[in-house]
């Protein structure tokens, strides 16, 4: 089984990110960039499938600028066998990315596309579903457990009400949620060792047409700090005074 793992480069998900004063973008000065944490969970799951003998080949793919090489090198260190960097400097959106990924999936013919449920920068939660639609493959989103079946997968999904177990035939798109696994820690030697693995640079196969354009970025009004109280009686009085009970 071949697994394709789309990887997105995002600004450090634990950093405090602000809009630039000009409103033209995010102020990422001095901030690190990482693999989107949900994609890292997807990659970890793919590596475990390979370790269990369920998968034979893991291909990581990123669409973006040359700076994304860092995240693909890390993906190789985590356990991808091969990485593809589809180079572009265009602004992207889930429509453009899913269309491009669909073209690559048609060429690479994976049995499974495993990816994060959303990127932590844009929080859009669309690309997996759109990709599944373009390929006309079944989808299972928000996966918290994946088991290989004879010719498909049994996926436990997180839902608004709790959990749901679904079966999907392969090839399929599965998007992963936080609780699927705990990604392994990769030490620097592993990253250096991964330098011998193939990282292919490619040009886009599609026009990368975006459907949604971001006009400006702004910081929401901050919530001001309120009052501190020193006893439960004061707390009860303060809550009662707000008139929200």
């Amino acid at each position: 089984m071949r697994i394709l793992i789309p990887i997105k480069r995002v600004v450090d998900p634990y950093a405090k990110v602000r809009a630039l004063p000009s409103g033209e973008g995010l102020d990422t000065a001095g901030l690190k960039f990482e693999i989107n944490p949900f994609d890292e969970i997807a990659l970890e799951e793919a590596v475990r499938m390979k370790e269990r003998g369920e998968a034979t080949e893991l291909i990581a793919i990123t669409i973006g600028g040359s700076e994304c090489e860092e995240q693909l090198r890390k993906s190789l260190a985590i356990g991808a066998d091969k990485a593809i960097l589809v180079e572009t400097t265009s602004a992207l959106d889930p429509s453009a990315v899913s269309t491009e990924l669909a073209a690559w999936a048609k060429e690479l013919q994976p049995d499974l596309i495993l990816m994060g449920k959303q990127g932590t920068e844009n929080d859009e939660n669309q690309t997996g579903q759109r990709l599944a639609a373009k390929l006309d493959w079944p989808q299972a989103t928000f996966a918290s457990k994946i088991e290989k079946l004879a010719s498909g997968f049994q996926v436990t999904r997180e839902t608004d009400l709790g959990e749901e177990v679904v079966e999907v035939a392969q090839p399929a798109v599965i998007t992963v949620d936080l609780r699927l696994n705990e990604p392994r820690y990769i030490a620097l030697p592993g990253i250096i060792k991964a330098r011998s693995k193939p990282l292919e640079r490619a040009t886009p196969k599609t026009a990368l047409t975006v459907k949604v354009k971001t006009r400006s970025y702004a910081n929401p009004p901050a919530r001001g700090a309120g009052i501190r109280v020193n006893s439960v009686d004061e707390l009860v009085a303060a809550i009662a005074a707000k008139g929200v009970l």
Binding site: R130, A133, L161, E164, V165, V232
Partner: protein, 296 residues
């Protein structure tokens, strides 16, 4: 022609749609996948499904059905994102996730980076939207003509087992009062007794942090935050919650935030309207006994 279709999984979704439909200002119809309603728009298409099929089995049919609309909107939820993005993918249409404001029928506001930044985005119709109801002032939907509609799922992913809707406490995304807790609640039984007790006394819902869910103290559907539920109650009581960026992303539209934490330096105090540095195990039972209107 500009026209909105509201797609609701059941009546509870539909109840949250009035504010959005009013703010968008276009003529509208509704499609109710399960349940019944006589309000919802000029036409109320009722599919009458008893169980909601998986997204990949109904998206194709819905793509055909919705293609005459300029705007198709859903209340933001995990299941609506699952379905809306699939239909948008089939139609190669724009999609706005988690809209929180409307500047015009082609310009929307949406949060990104866990709500730290608000983006103004432009999209040409057809556009799919999932919206956060708490950001749109409640408004009535118009009454209309009910039109029965058949939905025959196509082959695709199959549900083997699913959690049922639990009766009792209000739904987190619609609750007026939420009592929420983190890892200091220790275990599932303590979480239920201490938080659940106060929530029930106030007629509220119970929420949890990611850490509480990850450690098995609380079930996943109670998670509040960037990747869990986004809530906007009148009163959010955060007990033993330090206030990570990811959690704060889910609560900052709450009217009043109360923080109870032993650590006076916890970031939650920076956004709380009322804070007390104290042990939640001391404070919560006393609140249950002393808050006006709390049933003991």
């Amino acid at each position: 022609m500009s026209r909105l279709l509201l797609i609701a999984f059941d009546e509870s979704d539909l109840n949250s749609c009035g504010g959005f439909a009013t703010a968008l200002g276009l003529p509208y119809d509704a499609l109710l996948l399960s349940g019944n309603s006589t309000v919802g728009g000029e036409k109320i298409f009722q599919a009458g499904l008893t169980a909601i099929p998986t997204a990949d089995t109904v998206a194709g049919l819905l793509a055909v059905f919705v293609h005459t609309y300029s705007h198709v909107a859903f209340v933001s939820s995990m299941r609506s994102k699952d379905l809306a993005a699939r239909i948008a993918g089939i139609l190669d249409a724009a999609m706005i996730t988690d809209a929180i404001g409307i500047e015009s029928p082609t310009t929307f506001l949406r949060p990104m980076v866990a709500g730290a930044v608000i983006a103004t985005v432009d999209a040409e119709p057809p556009v799919f939207i999932t919206f956060r109801p708490s950001n749109f002032a409640p408004a009535e939907l118009t009454a209309g003509t009910v039109v029965p509609m058949g939905i025959e799922p196509a082959p695709g992913s199959k549900v083997v087992k699913a959690s049922a809707k639990t009766a009792g406490r209000p739904d987190l995304s619609q609750a007026k009062i939420i009592v929420s807790g983190g890892k200091p609640l220790k275990d599932a039984a303590t979480f239920e007794t201490v938080l659940g007790g106060l929530a029930d006394a106030l007629g509220g819902a119970v929420g949890a942090t990611r850490a509480a869910v990850d450690t098995g103290i609380a079930p996943n559907e109670l998670q509040v935050g960037q990747t869990g539920k986004i809530v906007a109650p009148n009163l959010y009581i955060a007990a033993g919650i330090s206030g990570s960026t990811q959690h704060m992303a889910g609560i900052k539209d709450s009217k009043v935030i109360v923080a109870i934490n032993k650590d006076g330096d916890a970031p939650i105090f920076e956004v709380a309207d009322i804070g007390i540095v104290a042990d939640l195990f001391d404070v919560l039972p006393q609140l249950q006994a002393k808050l006006p209107g709390a049933r003991s």
